[in-house]
């Protein structure tokens, strides 16, 4: 995962055989980028959020689930036993927050970059501390006795849950927030951005979400 030399490129992670068989199209794509030096979003990023807030109105929120990419994520939620009307898909959660807050509120450069990538593409992106991740990300089923992360009080995972994992341990439930001990912190030097691909969403679209996020972080 070196950042020197050639520019970083998105990497497709492995998908465990049963998942590949049962849920074709499901995948994880990651990209390592330098962590931003500043926590606060520059003016340009905050303006970007403001423009997105203007572009995204109540009618758009209603029409969201009819658009191909958000629809594909809703279907993927259904296919893995999640109800997208209870556990909102990330883009619908962002849409509701936009309506409730009256706009996309700036919460720091990393959060803003993730929000911009999500709203622009419909593809959810999460960030991890790249140095806290052991090897490449992959999708698999949780095994009996596993926990989400390795910190004190780590959430025990029921057998058979679909997780995003590194070589050592599960890092996040599918479509869920990552374990707290793998999240970026003040001393994080490199970020591991990852996006989940589902059936009906082309790889190029997922990569675009990662690039969008990386571009905003480099702003």
């Amino acid at each position: 995962m070196s950042l020197q030399g050639e520019p970083p490129a998105p990497r497709e992670g492995l998908v465990a055989e049963p998942l590949r068989e049962e849920l074709p199209g499901l995948g994880v794509v990651s990209l390592v980028v330098p962590a931003p030096a500043t926590k606060r979003s520059p003016e340009g990023v905050r303006e970007h959020l403001a423009v997105l807030s203007t572009r995204f109105r109540g009618a758009d929120a209603l029409a969201l689930r009819q658009r191909p990419v958000p629809h594909a994520y809703r279907v993927a939620f259904r296919h893995v036993g999640l109800d997208p009307d209870t556990t909102r898909t990330p883009v619908e959660a962002a849409a509701i927050e936009r309506l409730v807050q009256g706009g996309f509120v700036s919460r720091g450069l990393l959060d803003d970059a993730l929000t911009i990538a999500l709203v622009e593409t419909g593809v959810p992106v999460w960030a991890l501390d790249a140095d806290a991740v052991d090897g490449d990300l992959w999708l698999r089923l949780a095994r009996a006795g596993e926990q989400l992360g390795e910190h004190d009080g780590a959430l025990p995972l029921p057998d058979g849950q679909i997780v995003v994992a590194d070589a050592r341990t599960p890092l996040a439930l599918l479509f869920g927030e990552p374990a707290p001990d793998r999240l970026p912190h003040r001393r994080t030097a490199r970020l591991l951005l990852y996006a989940l691909r589902v059936d009906g969403v082309p790889l190029v679209h997922v990569e675009e979400a990662l690039w969008q996020c990386a571009d905003v972080l480099a702003a």
């Binding site: 055989e17 049963p18 029409a63 893995v80 036993g81 209870t86 058979g160 849950q161 869920g176």
Partner: protein, 162 residues
């Protein structure tokens, strides 16, 4: 080395391998039902009070045939309810539109009847109201008219704790 074989779904892939096409078919049906529900979302109004959720606990996992069938059936049931709700509303609105026409033709036979824009499927806060012209005099003389009050009520501060 990463081991990607997983024992936990052996039941899904081993002895029940013949069920895989059935699960694929069920997933395709779920996708179609979800698409149809999404299409109807645009036609639904908040006052239809449709409960969209079909429930889904237990986190992300590979669903077996039974669970997929339950999701498919619940979605089909929800779709049926949404269609029925929309059809009932369309019928109610058509009836109200006819009633409004009768009211406009003969206000005296529809004294004090109120029909709102929402009742006839129109946007806005307008209300057609049959009222006597000149108040009490109009009531005594049988002078009835339909008044259309337009405009939404002015916003008021939310009622807070006393």
């Amino acid at each position: 080395m990463v081991v990607i074989a997983d024992r936990q779904v052996a039941p899904l892939l081993g002895e029940e391998v013949e069920e895989a096409p059935a699960r694929r078919a069920l997933r395709a049906q779920i996708a179609r039902l979800e698409a149809e529900l999404a299409r109807l979302t645009a036609e639904v109004k908040p006052r239809d009070r449709i409960a969209w959720s079909i429930g889904g606990e237990g986190g992300p996992r590979l669903l077996g045939i039974g669970e997929l069938e339950r999701v498919r059936d619940d979605l089909a049931e929800r779709l049926h309810e949404v269609r029925e709700t929309l059809a009932a509303r369309a019928a109610r609105e058509a009836e109200n539109r006819e009633r409004l026409q009768r009211m406009l033709r003969d206000p005296a036979r529809h004294r004090f009847v109120r029909i709102s824009a929402a009742d006839v499927g129109q946007p806005g806060c307008g209300v057609w109201h049959v009222r006597p012209r000149l108040g009490l005099i109009g009531m005594l003389m049988g002078w009835w008219q339909v008044k259309l009050s337009s405009g939404c009520p002015l916003p008021r501060p939310a009622a807070g704790p006393a």
